[in-house]
C-alpha cells in the first residue's frame, strides 16, 4: 500500500532529525563561549541562582538524552519488518507506578531545593548596612533617588506622586529634604542594595540579567523586597522587560558598579549638590 | 459521569433530558462568567476599603424600596414560570396566563433597572464617575440585565410556541431550557442584590 513506501528513507529522516534535536541540546556547554550562554554573573544571589540553573540544566539534559536515546533505539529496533508481529501488551502497572513515583520524587525534591533558595534570595532580611534606593519607572525610562547625608531614604507614598514630586516623597519626613536623584544607578561593589520600586504609569520590568534579578514595577504599589549585592565592578544596563508601550524596546538605564572609594566620592558630590539646592526635590534628570 | 453506555434510542425515549443536560453544561459556563465578575468585585472591594463609596442615589430608601420590589418581582416570576411549565406541558388551563404574568414580572424588573440607571446617570453617577463601586455596579448589573433581557425574549418565544400549540407532552425542550435559564438568572440576581445593595 502507498503509505508503506520508502520505510528506510523515512526512517533515516526521522533519525537524522531526532539526532539533530539531541545534538542541539548538547551545545551551550557551561561557560564555554559567552555567545551561547549566560552573561557572567555579577551579584551574590545570582551566583546561588546559577547553581540551581546548572542543577536543572544537568537534570533535564540527562533526562532528555536518556529518554531520547531509549526512544530512538525503540524506533529503530521496532520498525516494521516482514512477518514480525507487534507485541500484544496493554500496559504494566508496576512500570506505571515506577514512572509516576520517580518523577514525583524528583519534582518535589527540586521544589524543595528551589524554594529554599527563593527564601534566601527574596525573603531574608538584607544586612544592616543595606543602602535603600528608590527606583521610579515611567514611559519610557527610569530615575533613581538616593538617601541623603543621613543615609536614610525619606518616606514616600504613591498617592503623593505628581508632576513636580515624581517620587511621591513625603514632605513631612525631613529625610526627604536631602535625598537626591540620579539618572544613573551608581552602586558600590559588595555593598547590599535594597530597591524601593515604583511605577508612574503602566507596569514596567526591573531586569538586570547579570544580577539575575527581575521584578515588575506595578503602578499604585511600592515593591520593596528586592535586594542584591553587586560583586563585579563594571557598567551594566537596567532593561525594562515588561511590555509597556511603543517605547518599551528602548527603555533602559545605565548601571555603574564602582569601588567603595569611587562611590563615596560620587556620593559626596551629589549630597553637596542636593544640600545646595533649596527645594527637597530638584527636578528629575531624565536619562 | 456514568460509565454505562447510553444508546441513541434510549436518548430518544427520555428525549428532553439531553436538551436539559446541554442546558446545564451551558449554565455551568454562565456560572463561571459571573463567578469571574464577582471574584473581581470581591478583590476590588476588599482592596478599596474606604474607597468603596456607595452613591447617595443608591443609598436613599426610595431606591432601596424600588429595588426590593423589583427583586421580589423577579423571584416570584421564577415561581409563576415554574407553575406555568407544568401546566403548559400537561396542556392544562392557566399555563399561558402564568407565562404572560412571568413576562410582565420580568419586564417590570428590567424597567426598574432602566429607571435606576437613568436616575443615577442624571445624578452624575456613571461608569466613569462613580469610582470603583460604580465600575462594579454598572458592569455587574449591566451583565445581569442583558441576561434578563434575553430571558424575556426567550419567554416571549415560548409564549408564541404555546399559542401556536407547539408545546406538547413530547415537545417542550425549549420551554424547559427557558425555565432553567430563567431560574439561573434569578439566582444570580439574589447574589448581586446582596453584594451590591445590602453589603
Amino acid at each position: 500500500m502507498s503509505q508503506f513506501l520508502s520505510r528506510k528513507r523515512s526512517l533515516i529522516a526521522v533519525l537524522a532529525a531526532l539526532f539533530l534535536a539531541l545534538g542541539a541540546s548538547a551545545y551551550g556547554a557551561p561557560r564555554t563561549s559567552g555567545l551561547w550562554w549566560m552573561p557572567d554573573v555579577a551579584s551574590k544571589s545570582g551566583e546561588q541562582i546559577d547553581q540551581l540553573t546548572y542543577f536543572i540544566y544537568y537534570l533535564t539534559g540527562g533526562v532528555f538524552i536518556l529518554t531520547q536515546v531509549v526512544y530512538i533505539y525503540f524506533l529503530i529496533r521496532y520498525r516494521a519488518r516482514r512477518g514480525v508481529r507487534a507485541t500484544y501488551l496493554h500496559g504494566d502497572n508496576r512500570l506505571e507506578l515506577v514512572w509516576t513515583a520517580i518523577p514525583t520524587a524528583i519534582f518535589i525534591g527540586l521544589w524543595g531545593y528551589s524554594n529554599h533558595m527563593w527564601w534566601d534570595v527574596i525573603h531574608t532580611e538584607s544586612p544592616k548596612d543595606t543602602m535603600e534606593i528608590a527606583v521610579m519607572a515611567y514611559q519610557f525610562g527610569f530615575s533613581f533617588q538616593y538617601p541623603g547625608a543621613t543615609g536614610k531614604l525619606g518616606r514616600s507614598d504613591v498617592k503623593l506622586i505628581s508632576a513636580d514630586n515624581i517620587f511621591g516623597n513625603d514632605p513631612t519626613d525631613p529625610a526627604t529634604k536631602e535625598d537626591f536623584q540620579s539618572g544613573v544607578l551608581e552602586l558600590a561593589i559588595d555593598k547590599p542594595v535594597r530597591i524601593r520600586l515604583n511605577s508612574r504609569d503602566v507596569i514596567h520590568g526591573f531586569y538586570i540579567p547579570q544580577f539575575r534579578i527581575y521584578q515588575d514595577a506595578v503602578p499604585g504599589r511600592t515593591i520593596d523586597w528586592v535586594w542584591f549585592i553587586p560583586t563585579k565592578i563594571g557598567s551594566y544596563q537596567l532593561a525594562c522587560s515588561q511590555l509597556c508601550g511603543s517605547g518599551h524596546y528602548n527603555m533602559k538605564a545605565q548601571i555603574e558598579v564602582v569601588s567603595q572609594a569611587e562611590f563615596d566620592k560620587w556620593y559626596k558630590e551629589k549630597v553637596a549638590a542636593a544640600a545646595g539646592a533649596s527645594s527637597g526635590n530638584p527636578p528629575a534628570q531624565m536619562k | 459521569m456514568h460509565v454505562s453506555a447510553t444508546t441513541i434510542d434510549e436518548v430518544q425515549q427520555d428525549g428532553p433530558n439531553i436538551v436539559r443536560f446541554g442546558m446545564f453544561t451551558f449554565l455551568a459556563s454562565e456560572a463561571m462568567l459571573f463567578a469571574g465578575l464577582i471574584c473581581g468585585y470581591m478583590v476590588l472591594r476588599g482592596g478599596a476599603g474606604s474607597g468603596w463609596q456607595m452613591p447617595e442615589a443608591l443609598k436613599n430608601p426610595e431606591t432601596m424600596v424600588k429595588t426590593v420590589v423589583a427583586t421580589l418581582c423577579l423571584i416570584s416570576s421564577s415561581f409563576t414560570l415554574h407553575f406555568a411549565e407544568g401546566r403548559l406541558i400537561r396542556q392544562t388551563k392557566g399555563g399561558k396566563l402564568l407565562l404572560v404574568l412571568t413576562i410582565l414580572l420580568g419586564s417590570a424588573f428590567l424597567a426598574n433597572q432602566a429607571i435606576e440607571w437613568i436616575t443615577l446617570h442624571n445624578e452624575g453617577f456613571w461608569f466613569n464617575t462613580a469610582g470603583i463601586m460604580g465600575s462594579c455596579f454598572f458592569v455587574l448589573t449591566g451583565f445581569h440585565g442583558c441576561h434578563v433581557f434575553i430571558g424575556v425574549l426567550m419567554l416571549v418565544a415560548t409564549l408564541i410556541r404555546a399559542l401556536t400549540g407547539n408545546i406538547t407532552p413530547h415537545r417542550h425542550g425549549f420551554l424547559e431550557c427557558t425555565g432553567l435559564y430563567w431560574h439561573f438568572v434569578d439566582i444570580v440576581w439574589v447574589f448581586l442584590f446582596t453584594i451590591l445593595y445590602i453589603l
Partner: protein, 590 residues
Amino acid sequence: MAEILADTFPGEAHVSHAHHPELSFFRKYIWSEDHKTIALQYLFTSLFFLLVGGSLAMGVRFQLAFPGAPVPLIGTLLPSWLVTSAGAFQPGGYNGLVTMHATVMVFLVIMPLLIGVFGNFLIPLKIGAPDMAFPFFNALSYWLFLLSGIVLLSSFFVPAGFPASGWTSYAPLSSHAQYNGTQAGQSCWCVGLFLNGLASIAGAANYITTIINMRAPGMKMFRLPLPVWALFITAILLLLAVPVLSAAAAMLFCDLNFGTSFFSASNYGQPLLWQHLFWFFGHPEVYIMILPAMGLVSEILAVNARKPIFGYKAMVFAMVSIAGLGFIVWGHHMFVSGMNILLSATFSFSTMVIAVPSAIKTFNWMGTVWGGSIRYTTAMCFALAFVSMFVIGGLSGIYMAATPVDLFIHHTYFIVAHIHYVLFGGSLFGVFGAIYFWFPKMFGRMMNETWGKIHFALAFIFFNCTFFPMHNLGLNGMMRRIADPMLYDHLQSSQPINVFCSVSAFALGLSTIPFLVNFFYSIFKGPKAPNNPWRSTTLEWTVPSPPGHGNFETTPTVYHGPYEYSVPGMEEDYLPQNQPAPETARLAAH
C-alpha cells in the same frame, strides 16, 4: 431557529435528515449543520489564519534579524502605524505584530484546528453517533468563530492599527488609551476574544452533551478512543475557563471605552487583578491547546505501531489530573509580578506537581512504540516528533517552575522557546500528523506520502533551527517583545543567533508550502481512499470515506476497547471495535 436546540432529539435529527438528503446549496455548504461539513469549514478557515499568523511571525523575525531595514516588496505599502516612511517597522508596530501573531495563532489557529476541526469531525464518528447533540449550535459556533476572526483582523484597518499590548494584554497598558495609543485596536481585541469565547462555549457544551449521551451501545467511557477522551476533558476546561476570560475582556473593554477603573492604578483599581483573571483562564488555555493533540497523537502512535496504547487508563487519568491541576497553577506566570511572594512558593509547588502527569504520558508513549511494528507514515513521523518536541518544551518548563531561575529567565526568549516547543513542536505537529492521518476519511482521497515526508523533514529541521537557539538567546538575557536587540550591550554579541533564527524561520514558513500544495492537490487529484487505509480499529474507519450524512447506516454496537492491535490468535493484526472477537482471539482482559 431555537427549534433545533429544543425539540429535535438527536435520533430524530438523524432520521428526519435521512428522509430528505437533498439539501439546498446554502444548507449544504454555508449554514450546514452536518458536523463533518462544519469540521471542514473550520479546517479551511483556520489554515487560512495559519498563513496570516505565520506571515505576521515572518514580519517579527525579519525585524529581529534586520532591525530598521525596510521590509522587502510590501514595505512601502504598509500603513504608517506599522512602518516608517522608509518602509521599516516602527517599534510600536512591531508590538502590534507580536500581539496579533500570538492572538491569531492561539485563538484562530491552534484552538480551532484541534477542537473545531478534529472535535467536530471525530467525536460523533468515533462514538457511533449520527451527529452532534445540537447541530444548530454547532453551526452557530463556527460562524461566531469566523466573526471573531474578522473582528480581530479588522483591527489592521482601524486608526493606530493592531492592539499592541501583547497577547496577555496586561493592564493598565491595555486599559488606558493614553498609554497604549491603540484604543480601537485594543477594543477589537476585547470584542474578538469575547465572540471567540462564545464560539468555544457553544462547541464545548455540545461536545460534552454528545459524548455523555450519544455513545453507541457498548461504548463504555473506558472504551472511548483517546482523542475523544482528550476532547471531552478539553471541553470541560473550555467550559470553565473561557467565561472567565470573557468576563475579564468585558471589564477591560469598559475600562478602555467607558472609563471604569477595574484595572487602573488610580481609583482603587488593581492592575494585578487583570493578570489573575487572565492567567486563571490562560493556564488552562495552554493545556486546552495540548490535550487534544496528545489524544490525537496517542491514537496515531497506537495505529502505526500496531500495538495497543500502553496504559490506556493511566493516559486517561493523567489527562484528567492535568486538567484538574491546571486550574491551580496560573500563578507561575506571575512569580515576579509583585504578587505575594509566599504565593509564588505555592504556585511553584503545584507547577512541579502538574509536570508529573505529563511525565506519565511521555513514558506511556515510549511504552507504546516499544515492541511495536512501526510503520513510518507521514502521520506517524509527526506523531513521533511530537513526543520529542513536547519533551523539550516540557523540560524547559521545569526551569521556569523553579522560582529563582524564573527570576533570571522570566520574559526572556527562553520563554519564547518554551512556548514554541510546546505549541508548534507540540500542538501544531500533532495537528499536521492528524491531518495526514484523517485526510482520507475527510476527503475520500489519500495525500501524497513522499511530499508528506518532505514536508515533515523540512518542518522538523527548520523548526528546531528556528526555536532551539532561542533558549540560548534567553540565557543571554534577551528580553521578549523588544523590536531591536542591538540597542542593548549584553545582546549585541548574540545578534548572529537572531539572524540564524530568522533565516530558519523563513525556511520554516516556506516548508508549509509543500504541505499546502499536497493538501489541495490531493483533495481533487489524490488516489481514492479505501474505507480503512490504515487498518485501524475505531468506528470512523468502518464507514465509507467520506462518510455519508448521518454517518452510520445502523447504529453500531461496540464490543471492546479502541486499541486491539496484533491480538494473538487472529491473522488480521487489528480488531475493529464493532466486530465481536473471533473464538480464536486471545484478548487481554484489562
